[in-house]
Symmetry: C2
Subunit: 436 residues, 2 copies
């Protein structure tokens, strides 16, 4: 057991630098916990000359992946390059060369999970990926091991730190989406091109991986109904606060245990102020998991960043060195392409309460028209907020906010479409699901 466990790092940016730092600076700690030394054997980078934060011995650094794959003293390849093209090929090459793989690349697994896991099975190697979802939050281990006695019934996750940072800033400071995004970019919480974060794609990738772990369901990412945060208006944040709610971007999944139907979506959701998820601020992540035996559990922590993500990668390395990850890999049969005992259903078939903001003409009879239209669709109203316009208010428009009782999403959407055809509604209506 004292033979070192040899590691090749492929990619050495932010997270890779953190992994190298732990391996080089905490060698004794990691050897104690893994039962043998974790030895950094190779670091494969595109630009060999570039300065690295961690003091990596120059003789370990090279530009050729093949050198690492040929090295018999390398047992595991850690893929940290990002993207889905070269990274996918590097992972497949590593497995074909008989190496285990640790990856933080959620896009590769969400889009090519079956190919990657089939290759690992074929070559008798394991793939570990704790860092793919929620960085330092150990949701992969908890779903795969700690909750293994349960049928998971639902997941609700704040899966994207960038979006949570922006929404927290908008709520706390009353600033616009654009202003808060600019601050997030300045502080390194958002990319120069933030599209994949703010449009919900990143959260959908993570949700697809969680669906595999929790439900054994292989969910094509494009099939996940998704709304981002770019259209959230300050007005909605303020109305939500007034009603006792906080708006969060959630990735959610619900299993109907009777019909075995699974619905998923990524959407802004109104959550009651005092729920734990609503209290998750800044770039942090959290997930609420409900299991049929364990009940409700919640995991919270840093969803990204150098050392939290490196912590997850190194936990996977220790698991492989100890020999646990190989057994987990065999037992879980992820992305195995076998018949899933779960059927996907459109998220439009989910029942929910809704927040609805209408921009209405400020004139007689509008409330009657709106409420009649909702009643015709059998949407029941729970509460209404319309603030008094000033006495000297010019002819114009006012926001009207309605909280509904529970309704089928597709029926509610049809009602909104009908409302938007009414003459008194002056701009497209805004709506979000409401949860506890």
């Amino acid at each position: 057991m004292t033979e070192p466990f040899g590691i090749a790092l492929v990619g050495c940016g932010t997270v890779g630098g953190g992994v190298a730092k732990l391996l080089l600076e905490q060698g004794q700690r990691l050897a104690e916990r893994a039962g043998r030394p974790l030895a950094l054997r190779r670091v494969v980078v595109r630009d060999v000359g570039k300065a690295r934060a961690a003091a990596i011995p120059a003789n370990l650094i090279g530009a050729e992946l093949q050198t690492a794959l040929n090295d018999p003293e390398v047992q595991v390849v850690v893929e940290l390059v990002g993207g889905t093209d070269w990274a996918r090929r590097a992972i497949l090459a590593a497995l074909a060369a008989g190496k285990h793989v640790v990856t933080a690349n959620k896009a590769v697994l969400a889009e090519h999970g079956t190919e990657v896991f089939d290759a690992a099975r074929k070559h008798g190697r394991a793939v570990a990926f704790e860092a793919c979802v929620m960085g330092g939050v150990p949701v992969v281990a908890v779903l795969g091991q700690s909750l293994a006695a349960n049928q998971v019934l639902s997941l609700q996750g704040i899966l994207n730190g960038t979006c949570n940072f922006i929404l927290t800033g908008m709520s706390a400071q009353g600033r616009s989406y654009a202003e808060t995004l600019a601050e997030a970019q300045q502080r390194g919480y958002a990319e120069a091109d933030p599209t994949l974060d703010v449009d919900g794609t990143d959260a959908a990738h993570k949700l697809a991986i969680l669906a595999q772990l929790a439900f054994g369901a292989t969910v094509p990412v494009p099939s996940i109904d998704r709304r981002g945060i770019a259209e959230i208006h300050n007005l909605d944040i303020r109305f939500a606060q007034e009603l006792g709610y906080t708006i969060k971007l959630l990735g959610e999944a619900w299993l109907d245990a009777t019909t075995r139907q699974l619905a998923l979506h990524v959407s802004p959701v109104l959550l009651r102020h005092l729920t734990l998820l609503a209290q998750v601020r800044g770039a942090d992540n959290a997930i609420r998991i409900t299991g049929d035996a364990v009940g409700e559990t919640l995991l919270y922590g840093r969803g990204a960043g150098q050392m939290p993500t490196a912590s997850a990668v190194v936990a996977d390395l220790i698991d492989l060195a100890v020999g646990r990850a190989q057994r987990t890999f065999q037992a879980m049969k992820l992305w195995s392409g076998g018949p899933s005992n779960v059927v996907l259903r459109p998220s439009a078939t989910v029942r929910s309460r809704f927040y609805l903001r209408l921009q209405v003409a400020d004139r007689l009879g509008v409330m009657a028209d709106v409420t009649r239209c909702l009643a015709d669709h059998r949407i029941s109203i729970a509460s209404v907020v319309q603030h008094e316009a000033p006495e000297d208010h010019e002819e114009g428009t006012v926001p009207l906010v309605i909280m509904t009782h529970t309704a089928l999403t597709e029926v509610f959407r049809a009602a909104v479409a009908a409302l938007d055809r009414l003459g008194c509604i002056v701009s497209p209506s805004v709506y979000y699901p409401v949860e506890d």
Copy 2:
């Protein structure tokens, strides 16, 4: 891998009934996740004739532990009887008979961990104990595996559901400790004799186990400084709320990473309202763990109850059936009696802010005397609350609440002792640490 994994249940009360229910009713699910069937072979109970909730085949039930230990088809003994005497002997006998052990018995591990783990090592068997701490909250797995790359720096846990239920009730309904305890007993959240819960002993047992996992420290339970909740007055709950805080009973541990000194205590603590721990209500549990790489993480869930605890026990059974738990057991070297690289220090050497409530005579010069006494001890005042007494107020006493800046606990306690000797202080002063 299709050979069944044979299980003997020792004790079949609430939790045992839940474990039996999962094994008997979810056989297919568990077999899929363990890679082989989990077979309930024996159920050892004191009273064979007693009716059981789960439909356990009568031929499995017996009163003799030895029968289970002699059965070559039993690979693991699940100890769920409670207490530290017979349970300890049963665990040692099971290990000596070559069985793995799963236990939910925190007292046995906290008090006899070294003996139990030495026996397991001697006989080449594993002990798994996820259910010992916080029921359905997977803190044992997270500390042992997911955070293995980290040096844990601190733990703060709501470890006892009974205490949290009582404190939540006192806060929400303004009722007294005695009234809320009576409700907790009625609803099954507190024992007829609640002493071990409300005096902090149960939390101290759990904290000792957490200290072993997080710091490799074998902490004698009696050495853990502990205060319970029985003396918490409504007045303190109300003042705390007014100041923006919630009172929670926490088990806490702090490592000084430089000196490697570890301090622990169990104490009521004032937490800011909007922190996640302060939002944990009712009988739920949660723990905040700070690691040097991962930063702050939090786990939340049901800390007790039939199915949450059974979920943890069955997760351990799956881990053993898969072969992971054996590797974890070997790698972690818990209670191995080797030289710990951590030294205990008294919790009186911890620095903290404090809430201090004095019952003072309502007369001239009292504030001057009190603040002078604190200044003499170099305790700096952050804020003071003394409400105006009614104009027609008779000569009497009033509560005076002081929030201090950070001070050394032992210095603060000396200041309180000095205050209590002042003529103007009419009853012993009340104080609690204040944290964010």
